[in-house]
C-alpha cells in the first residue's frame, strides 16, 4: 500500500511541477532577458563616461523590419555615446502597434517616451494626466522649438501639445502619370480636370502602349479610399470640414462640389476609365497595375513615383524617364491639394516614469539632439564605415541586409523637426521632381479646420460615421445607388450621431477661436 501511495504522490508532484513550470516559463525567460539588458547597460555605463552621468531613457516605438536592432548594434551605441544616455528601446511591430499601446497604457508601466497616434486612448490618457504638457517647454530647444505651426496645431489637444510629432511632408499627395504614354499619343500633361478626363479616356481607349490590345485603364484605384479623397479635393471639396459664410463648420459631403466630384467619378467608372474591380481590389497590389503598364495614372503619394519607376526600370531599362508627376489638376475654382496631417504618429513623455522637470529636460534634450544633423545621421544612416561609406563625396549605403537591419529601425526615433538633415544619395531626376511637387502642394493645401479638435462623438463612433459616407460614395460610383441613395446615406449619418458630431465640432471650434 505504502509503495502505491508513494507512486501516486510522485505522479501528482510531477503533474503539478510541470504545470507550474509551463505556466511560469514565459515569465521567467522575460525576466532573465531583462537581467541581461541591465547587465549590458551597466557595461555601457562604464564605457560612456564623459560629460556627467549618462541618463537612462526607455522608449517604445514601432519597428518595420523583421529584426530590429538591439544594444549590440554599433549604431545604437553610437547614439548613446552621442547623446550621453543609456537607451532601453522596445521595438513593437508596426502592424499591431495600436493594440500594444493600449496594453502598455493599461499595464501602468509606461516607458519614458512612447510613440502614439492621436487616438481616443491617447487623448483619454492625456485627460487623465498621463503625459507631460510640452507646450511651454519645447521653445527652449533649438530644434524642437522650430515645429511647423500647421502640424503643431494638428497634434494639439484643446490648444496644448502633449507630444513631439514625427514630421512628414504635408504636400505628399500627388498623381504619377506615364509620360511615355502621353508622348505616344501626342498629348500634354493635364493641368485641369477636363484635360485629366481626356487623358484618362485616351489612356483607356487609344492603346497608349501601342501593343494593339485594349488592356489599359486611365487610372487605377483599390479598396483604399485615398485616391477618391485626393481627386474630390481638386473639385474644391473641403478637407473633412468646410466653413460656411457664418463661420460654421459643415461636413465636407454637404458641399455642392462633392456631388459634382461624385458625378465625375461615376462617369469615369461607367466609361471604364478606372478598373472595374476597384471596390474589392487589394490595396497591397494596386501599384502593380501601374508598374506593369496596365494603368496610365495612379493618384497616391509623390514618393511612389520614384519607387514605381525603379521597379519599371528593373524590368525594362528602356522605361527610364517614363514616369512623371503632377501635384494637382485645376478644378472649377482653382488649384487644390489634399494635404496629409503632416506627421506620422508622435512621441509622448510619461508623467509617471519621468517624474521631475529636470528629468523631462533630459529627455527633451535627447530628442532635440536626435534632430541635429549628427543625430539624424546616426539614427537614419547608421555609422560611417559600417553602414555607409562616403565615396568621392557621394553617400553609399551598405547593401548587406544584416547590416541594414542593425540600424534601420533606429530611424523610428527621429522626429525630423524642423527638417530632414540625414545623408542621401544624389537625387534622381524624378526624386527632384517629387520634392518640387511636394513643396508646390503645400501652397495649395486645403487644411482641415477641425483637425486639432477632439470630438467625443467621433472617438466613439467615428468609424461607423465615416463608413456610412465612404460606402455611399463607392455605391454611387458603381451605380448601386443614385442621388436619392446619397441623400438617404446623409440622413442616416445625421441620425447615427452625425447631428451631435456637427454640434460638438462647432462648439469646440468656437471655443478654440
Amino acid at each position: 500500500m505504502k509503495q502505491k501511495k508513494k507512486s501516486i504522490w510522485m505522479l501528482l508532484l510531477t503533474f503539478i511541477i510541470s504545470a507550474l513550470l509551463i505556466g511560469c516559463s514565459d515569465g521567467e525567460t522575460n525576466t532573465s532577458d531583462e537581467n541581461n539588458d541591465n547587465n549590458q547597460e551597466n557595461t555601457n555605463d562604464s564605457e560612456a563616461e564623459g560629460n556627467g552621468e549618462p541618463t537612462d531613457i526607455s522608449i517604445m516605438t514601432a519597428s518595420f523590419t523583421p529584426e530590429p536592432p538591439d544594444e549590440s548594434s554599433p549604431a545604437w551605441q553610437a547614439i548613446e555615446e552621442f547623446t550621453n544616455t543609456n537607451l532601453d528601446i522596445e521595438f513593437v511591430p508596426n502592424s499591431n502597434y495600436d493594440e500594444r499601446f493600449n496594453i502598455t497604457l493599461a499595464s501602468g508601466e509606461l516607458p519614458d517616451v512612447i510613440l502614439t497616434g492621436k487616438t481616443p486612448s491617447f487623448i483619454n490618457a492625456v485627460d487623465d494626466g498621463a503625459f507631460w504638457d510640452l507646450t511651454d517647454y519645447v521653445d527652449e530647444y533649438e530644434n524642437l522649438g522650430q515645429m511647423n505651426d500647421i502640424v503643431k496645431n494638428n497634434i494639439s489637444i484643446d490648444g496644448r501639445i502633449y507630444s513631439l510629432y514625427r514630421s512628414r511632408p504635408l504636400g505628399r499627395m500627388a498623381m504619377s502619370i506615364r509620360q511615355d504614354w502621353l508622348d505616344n499619343l501626342g498629348m500634354e500633361k493635364p493641368t485641369t480636370i477636363e484635360e485629366f478626363y481626356d487623358v484618362m479616356y485616351a489612356f483607356t481607349h487609344d492603346d497608349p502602349d501601342g501593343n494593339g490590345q485594349d488592356d489599359t485603364v486611365g487610372t487605377i484605384v483599390s479598396e483604399y479610399e485615398g485616391p477618391w479623397d485626393i481627386m474630390q479635393t481638386w473639385f474644391g471639396v473641403p478637407n473633412k470640414w468646410g466653413i460656411d459664410e457664418n463661420g460654421e463648420l459643415y461636413p465636407h459631403f454637404q458641399d455642392p462640389a462633392y456631388r459634382e466630384a461624385l458625378d465625375f467619378f461615376k462617369k469615369m467608372y461607367d466609361e471604364g476609365l478606372v478598373n472595374e474591380d476597384f471596390a474589392v481590389m487589394d490595396p497591397a497590389k494596386w501599384h502593380d497595375a501601374f508598374v506593369n503598364g496596365k494603368a496610365g495614372t495612379i493618384v497616391d503619394v509623390a514618393d511612389a513615383a520614384s519607387r514605381n519607376q525603379d521597379k519599371m526600370i528593373d524590368a525594362d531599362p528602356s522605361l527610364e524617364g517614363a514616369v512623371d508627376l503632377i501635384g494637382a489638376v485645376e478644378g472649377p475654382n482653382g488649384l487644390h491639394n489634399l494635404p496629409t496631417t503632416g506627421y506620422s504618429m508622435m512621441f509622448a513623455i510619461s508623467k509617471t516614469s519621468v517624474e521631475t522637470e529636470e528629468e523631462l529636460h533630459k529627455v527633451l534634450e535627447f530628442m532635440d539632439k536626435m534632430s541635429t544633423e549628427e543625430g539624424q545621421n546616426l539614427g537614419f544612416n547608421g555609422v560611417e564605415g559600417r553602414h555607409y561609406e562616403i565615396v568621392d563625396g557621394v553617400y553609399t549605403p551598405t547593401e548587406d541586409q544584416g547590416l541594414v537591419y542593425e540600424h534601420e529601425d533606429l530611424n523610428q526615433l527621429l522626429t525630423f523637426i524642423p527638417e530632414e538633415r540625414f545623408l542621401t544619395a544624389p537625387l534622381q531626376e524624378i526624386e527632384k521632381k517629387e520634392e518640387k511637387v511636394m513643396k508646390a502642394n503645400e501652397e495649395i493645401a486645403v487644411p482641415n479646420p477641425a483637425e486639432p479638435l477632439v470630438s467625443e462623438v467621433y472617438s466613439r463612433q467615428g468609424e461607423q460615421l465615416d463608413n456610412i459616407i465612404l460606402d455611399a460614395r463607392i455605391k454611387y460610383i458603381v451605380g448601386q445607388i443614385d442621388e436619392s441613395g446619397l441623400d438617404e446615406a446623409e440622413e442616416l449619418w445625421m441620425n447615427s450621431g452625425g447631428k451631435e458630431y456637427i454640434e460638438e465640432i462647432n462648439q469646440l471650434y468656437q471655443e478654440a477661436q
Binding site: 507512486s7 501602468g108 483619454n124 474591380d277 460614395r473
Partner: protein, 321 residues
C-alpha cells in the same frame, strides 16, 4: 498501475450498503487522490477562465486603460442603452440572425448528408480516400480561402465569371454585390467545414450494429428505406446535441471570414456583432462599449442554448444537461 488497482479496490468495497453508511467527508476522503488529480484542472479553469470573466464588468464602466480597471468610473447600463438606441443595432441584429439562419439551414445538414453518402460506400479504400480529401479544406486558413475566392470570382479574369459570361453574356459581381454576400459566405463555410463536420456523424454511424441492416434487408427494405429507418434514427441524438451546441454559437459568425470578405459595397449586409466589436473596440479603443456589445451577444447565446435544450427534452430527445 496504481490507478487500475485503485479502481479494483473501489469495486470491492463499493457494495450497495457501503455508500449509504459512509458520511460525505468519508466519501471525500476515500477518493482523495482522485480529487487531488482533479486539482490542476480546476486551478486551470478558475485561473484562466473564471477569473478573467470578471473583465466583463468593464461593460458597466467607462474604462480607461490608463486609470485601469479599479479606478475607472462606473456607468451602469449606459453602454447597453446607447447600443440598443443606436440605428446600427437592428442592422447588426438582422445581419447576424439572417447569416445564422442560413448557416443552420444550408450548412448544418451538409455534413449529415455527406456522412450518409459516405456510409453507403462499399469500397473501404475509396471511402477512406474521399474522407481524407474532404477534411483537407478544414486546415486552410480563412486568409487563403478569401484569396482563392477572390481569384475565382473577380470580374477581371475570374474563372467563375468567365463561365457565367459565356452562358449569360453578363458578369456577376459576386464580391461586391450585397445580394451575393450571404450565399458566398455560406458557400465558403460549406466548402471549408463540411468534410470536418462528418467526423462525428461517421463515428456515430460506426456504432450501428450490422444486424439491424441485415434485419431490414430481410424485411425487404431498399437503400432509402434502410437509411430512413436505421441510419437516421441512429444519428438522431447526435444531430440533436450538435444542433443545441450550434445554437449556442448561433450569433458567432466567423469573424475572420466576414472581416476578410467585407468591402464598401457589401458592408450593409456584412456587418455583424463580431466585426462591430472589433471595429469599435480594437480600432477605436472603446473597450467598455464593445464589451457591452459582446456581453449582449453572449447572453443571447446562453438563452438560445438553454431554450434549445428545453425544447429537445420536451420532444423526448436527450438534451445537453
Amino acid at each position: 498501475m496504481s490507478l487500475l488497482s485503485m479502481k479494483s479496490r473501489k469495486v470491492k468495497t463499493n457494495g450497495p450498503l457501503d455508500t449509504n453508511q459512509l458520511t460525505k467527508t468519508q466519501q471525500l476522503l476515500k477518493d482523495k487522490w482522485l480529487y487531488v488529480l482533479l486539482l490542476p484542472g480546476i486551478v486551470y479553469f478558475v485561473l484562466f477562465k473564471y477569473m478573467p470573466m470578471w473583465g466583463v464588468l468593464m461593460a458597466f464602466q467607462d474604462y480607461s486603460p490608463f486609470k485601469g480597471f479599479w479606478q475607472s468610473d462606473w456607468v451602469g447600463f449606459d453602454h447597453f442603452q446607447y447600443f440598443f438606441q443606436n440605428p446600427d443595432f437592428f442592422r447588426l441584429l438582422r445581419n447576424t440572425l439572417i447569416l445564422a439562419l442560413y448557416d443552420l439551414i444550408f450548412f448544418f445538414p451538409a455534413p449529415i448528408i455527406i456522412a450518409l453518402m459516405l456510409n453507403e460506400l462499399r469500397m473501404q479504400f475509396f471511402k477512406r480516400t474521399i474522407q481524407t480529401l474532404v477534411y483537407v479544406p478544414h486546415f486552410m486558413s480563412w486568409v487563403i480561402i478569401a484569396s482563392i475566392t477572390y481569384v475565382f470570382l473577380t470580374t477581371s479574369g475570374g474563372a467563375v465569371n468567365a463561365v457565367v459570361e459565356y452562358f449569360t453574356g453578363e458578369k456577376i459581381n459576386f464580391l461586391s454585390s450585397p445580394d451575393w454576400f450571404r450565399p458566398m459566405i455560406i458557400g465558403q463555410v460549406i466548402w471549408k467545414e463540411t468534410g470536418w463536420g462528418t467526423v462525428i456523424f461517421l463515428a456515430a454511424l460506426a456504432s450501428v450494429s450490422p444486424e439491424q441492416y441485415e434485419a431490414a434487408i430481410m424485411d425487404g427494405a431498399g437503400r432509402f428505406r434502410r437509411m430512413w429507418h436505421v441510419t437516421l434514427p441512429a444519428l438522431r441524438s447526435t444531430i440533436v446535441i450538435l444542433l443545441i451546441l450550434r445554437l449556442g454559437n448561433f450569433l458567432d459568425q466567423g469573424f475572420q471570414q466576414i472581416f476578410l470578405m467585407t468591402n464598401s459595397l457589401n458592408r450593409s449586409v456584412a456587418d455583424v456583432f463580431d466585426t462591430y466589436v472589433y471595429f469599435v473596440g480594437i480600432t477605436q479603443g472603446a473597450f467598455s462599449y464593445s464589451t457591452a456589445v459582446g456581453l449582449f451577444k453572449a447572453i443571447v447565446g446562453i438563452i438560445l442554448i438553454y431554450g434549445a435544450d428545453y425544447l429537445a427534452k420536451k420532444l423526448k430527445q436527450p438534451g445537453l444537461f
